[in-house]
Amino acid sequence: MDKILDKIGDEILIQVHPKVNGIAALNSWSDVLIGLTADRYVSRKFRLTPDGLFYTDWAELSNANLLKLSELKVNDLFCIQIVYKRLGTDETGVIEFSSIDFSGSFENKIDSKPTVDKGIFSGLYNDPETESIARNLFKKLYYRGIIPKYITRGDNSDFVEDEDYISLFSSIAKFFALIIKFSKRFEAFNSDFSLMRDNVRQTNLYFDESIITLPELQYLSAFLYDEIRKRGTNLIFKKKGYVLKNGRTTEVDGEFLRLYKSTGMNELVTAKLSNQKVGWCVGRCSPLYRGTNEVSTLNKTKENSEDFVSKDNYDITEQGADVVILTDFQNKKCFRMLSNEDYCGIGKNDSEAGEIDLTTINSNLDYEITFDLLVSHTDGNSSLLFKVDGFDNLKNKMNDSFVLPNGDSITNEFMRMNLGYLRQDTWYKIRGIIHSYSTKNFDNLRSGYDFGNRLYFYNKFVKFIAPSVLVRNADILIHNYKIRPLVFGTNILPKKGKDVNARSNGFIQATNIFYMFVENNNSGMSNEEVNEFAERYLLPYNFNNIFVNI
């Protein structure tokens, strides 16, 4: 062990490297040594260097000697060296060093050079690398090699003795260090943030200058043509870390995400509408209907198909014999929820953060949660619980997330119904609607069959939702489970102080409609500006783009 003094006369060296940069003064010390006795003790010597160049003379470690060293202009190379030597007459046992503390005063002091800061060396004067180069240059000028010997200095490496020489040549070293540091930017421009930022700026790729990092700039610069090739494809919507088909992982967010500063906390859902969902198409699209027409890709669950693909894509509640099974029924892949006693189904009955996958939403948008339901078997106590929980940005469950349309009571339940009311072996379409925050209150705003509730967002800070479809004492089938915006627009009901914002696609006489529900977090650009940039540079030219800025 390096901290043990075994024998009389043994010495250990402690090199203390305090991390401070400014003017320091030390006035006292204390240490902890294990094994000291009257006959087994140590002597302590110390010296220090404020800048890694000039050391003080060795002296006994005492408060008086520390106080003599006032106004130390210290930098990253500040070092205090202490040598412990074992003394005494007792040759048994060991002395173990544990710790040493110093106390004193400190003043932050950064050299301010207005003349330098106004020129091309701005920001370089106090740069650690400039300091390092200056120290290195000064050593070359101070010790033998460059300056003739007849200019006497350096015999004792003593600051006081060579003060005039040090003052002159340290200034020269600093000046040349500034020039070298400035030039080095161009020697390795790839590792210079501001040069790389200027380089990428000129490419017209969009990036957020306030949060972009040097590695991201290096990536954008190195893969410039790849980034351009991503335009017009869905790769502009992919998050950092997405694995491309060539096996390479993207190291920056897609350009659309960068433009809108969209994170995993922000709503972004897009869909290209098939032609049958545009114009006037019987049973598919009507000029009088402003709903989202079950556009399959306008969906926030993990599966866009009407059929279920895997249970792994959902949070499933199962207990004992109460299970959820992926099964084929009438050429549909459905979830069969088979309950004899307890709730089972999609979602959790008592969901808490961390337990479940949450769906990102924006409380300024209307949503619908839909599924098809077929009842196979019920008994007198069969019930279906269809509800939704809300969570804040820290994924904490919020108990005041939703309220009834008349504002009477807070609830998270769309319906809790006795399944005995439904005909067996008949498909029912179930839809839970959440209206946006601040929607005007209405009495008697009921669902189609006069049971169940519509909900309003009651708390604008709801950032995530977790719907649940749970059944008890019944055997049912669920198919085509989706979460999506309710209307093409933001709200189908008037909001307090705002009108309805929902439109039909029935009058659109165009193909290739591309709908985007997106939050614009780019405080430097208006909705019109980001939409125009996206339309001009990011989205395919043959698309007719419709933005719903939330």
């Binding site: 062990m1 390096d2 901290k3 043994d10 010495e11 250990i12 060296l13 402690i14 090199q15 203390v16 490297h17 305090p18 991390k19 401070v20 940069n21 320091a24 003064a25 030390l26 205090i80 040598v83 060093f97 544990s98 710790s99 040493i100 503390d101 110093f102 106390s103 004193g104 005063s105 400190f106 003043e107 932050n108 994170t263 995993g264 906390m265 820290l394 994924k395």
Partner: protein
């Protein structure tokens, strides 16, 4: 002369300088724990040149990639074996072996 392996924590509170240096070499030859300082700040101070304010959690490690925050604001630490098995959370305190380093 033996050179003692150590770690140093430098704090500045309202102009008062405090330097604490402690030996860190263990009998097994390691210098664990990798996270050697952790404190929820109650008084504004500078710790190892890092300005910190009331309420912030400051952690010092020899490995800059040892811990970080994810998008949800959760603190993650990623330490190399065998050190990673030495940490545990008991009643909200991060424990290193039998030594409390976070309260």
């Amino acid at each position: 002369m033996k050179n003692v392996s150590n770690k140093t924590i430098t704090e500045v509170i309202d102009g008062d300088l405090s330097i604490r240096c402690f030996a860190d070499l263990k009998e097994d030859g390691s210098t664990n724990p990798a996270i050697y300082f952790s404190e929820i700040i109650e008084i504004d101070k500078q710790i190892n040149k890092l300005d910190s304010i009331d309420g912030e959690l400051v952690m010092l490690s020899e490995d800059s990639a040892a811990f970080g925050l994810n998008e949800s604001g959760e603190l993650l630490y990623d330490l190399q074996n065998p050190d990673d098995n030495s940490y545990s959370i008991v009643d909200g305190n991060l424990i290193y072996s039998d030594q409390t380093i976070v309260t």
